[in-house]
């Protein structure tokens, strides 16, 4: 059976793409963010995943409000990035893993998660940038990929408890996949930030640090909050922490922290990075 080597959660701000394209990793503004990644890359080199399952939210590249799935799973041989309209470079395609995709789809629906399946799926910066950060400059990316999209755009969003259970079902699916592949689960987005309204620029460092800590030791802690309460605590986009929680749900049993980094600000966002290993 396939093995989950661990999970990594990371921020996915579009301007990270521009910083990479312009080689600004050691620029004083970006350095505290980029310096978080070498220990995670070292860990990845050690655990050698073959496949990455990425849990993220689309920002209006693949999905529009005409049809907005709560949970959607990619089932393509290849995933393409495309023009997102805000001037960041378009990245080369990513290789899929159709066997794992369809095993996930079968297993999730058997587990009563009635996801949308996508044999064509554009992937935006929330999918591409984490891969660029973990495997910089490697095209094609050295891992096969499966995108899993969670709606954090149009309310109502799935509840935190539901996201955690969805993650658990993803974990069960991966671990029941008849393969010797090693799988890393990646959750992207957050942490606290709010782009719109008179509260734009809202950041909550205290909550973010508590969330990162609890995610390792007591992931159900955050499920005490409703989605509107999470918006109040973390901002309208900070609620992307649901993707982190889904990723954590996929890691069964106790986990240990491999590495964490937290820095304010990247663009309007409190940036976070948390790599976890199954104990």
């Amino acid at each position: 059976m396939a093995k989950i080597v661990g999970g990594i959660n990371v921020t996915h701000v579009p301007y990270i793409g521009r910083a990479i394209a312009n080689n600004l990793q050691q620029d004083p503004y970006w350095k505290p963010f980029f310096d978080g990644f070498p220990p995670v890359r070292d860990w990845l080199a050690k655990v050698k995943p073959d496949v990455a399952v990425l849990i993220y939210n689309d920002h209006g590249l693949q999905f529009f409000l005409d049809k907005m799935p709560t949970f959607a799973v990619g089932a393509a041989a290849e995933y393409r990035n495309a023009d997102e309209g805000w001037g960041i470079p378009t990245l080369p395609p990513y290789k899929g893993d159709e066997d794992l995709s369809w095993h996930l789809i079968d297993s999730l629906i058997e587990d009563e998660f009635d996801i949308v399946t996508c044999q064509e799926m554009l992937v935006d910066h929330a999918f591409t940038l984490p891969l660029e950060l973990f495997w910089p400059g490697q095209h094609p990316c050295p891992v096969r990929t499966v995108p899993i999209n969670v709606n954090t755009v149009q309310f109502p969003l799935p509840k935190a408890s539901r996201c955690f259970k969805f993650g658990q079902a993803i974990g069960r699916a991966i671990e029941s996949w008849d393969s010797d592949a090693r799988v890393v689960v990646i959750g992207t987005g957050g942490l606290s930030h709010q782009l719109e309204g008179k509260r734009a620029g809202f950041i909550n460092k205290e909550f973010d640090l508590m969330f990162m800590d609890k995610l390792v030791t007591d992931p159900l802690w955050v499920t005490r909050y409703s989605v509107p309460e999470l918006v109040e605590l973390t901002g309208t986009q900070g609620v992307e922490l649901l993707n982190w929680l889904t990723c954590r749900g996929a890691l069964s049993g106790d986990v240990t922290k491999v590495h964490a980094n937290y820095h304010i600000p990247i663009s309007n966002t409190a940036s976070g990075l948390l790599a976890m290993q199954v104990a």
């Binding site: 209006g60 782009l195 309460e229 109040e232």
Partner: protein, 118 residues
């Protein structure tokens, strides 16, 4: 709308829910079209005509033509789609944040930095 349910009130924040998604559909659909460089060029050539082509109502069109983000939000705009419109004008998230909160861009950036020191 909303079945009479009580919505949580968060100061300075409107959740993009079904009511907003219905209200802002044409505006957001126009902004979604800006994933295409051809469409961005067409908008830039004649913003007013482009708004009409996508069926924006008067409130939405006025908000777009005056580039007032809070007005676009009030007209049902969603931050992610509106950001594509901002991109056409070369506005980044600190420009948009400063405009919405009534401060200069430097002041807005300083506020973000300060949030990291608390």
């Amino acid at each position: 709308m909303n079945g009479g349910k009580q919505k949580k009130v968060i100061p300075g924040t409107v959740l993009f829910d079904g009511d907003m998604a219905r209200k802002g559909y044409a505006l957001n659909k126009m902004c979604f079209s800006f994933n295409s460089a051809d469409n961005r060029a067409e908008f830039k050539a004649d913003p007013s005509a482009y708004c009409d082509k996508w069926g924006l109502n008067a409130q939405q069109k006025a908000a777009v033509l005056s580039l007032q983000v809070l007005d676009m939000l009030a007209a049902g705009g969603n931050a992610y789609y509106l950001a594509k419109l901002g991109g056409i004008y070369g506005l980044d998230m600190q420009d948009i944040g400063a405009q919405q909160t009534g401060v200069t861009k430097d002041e807005f950036k300083a506020k973000l930095v300060a949030a990291g020191r608390n």
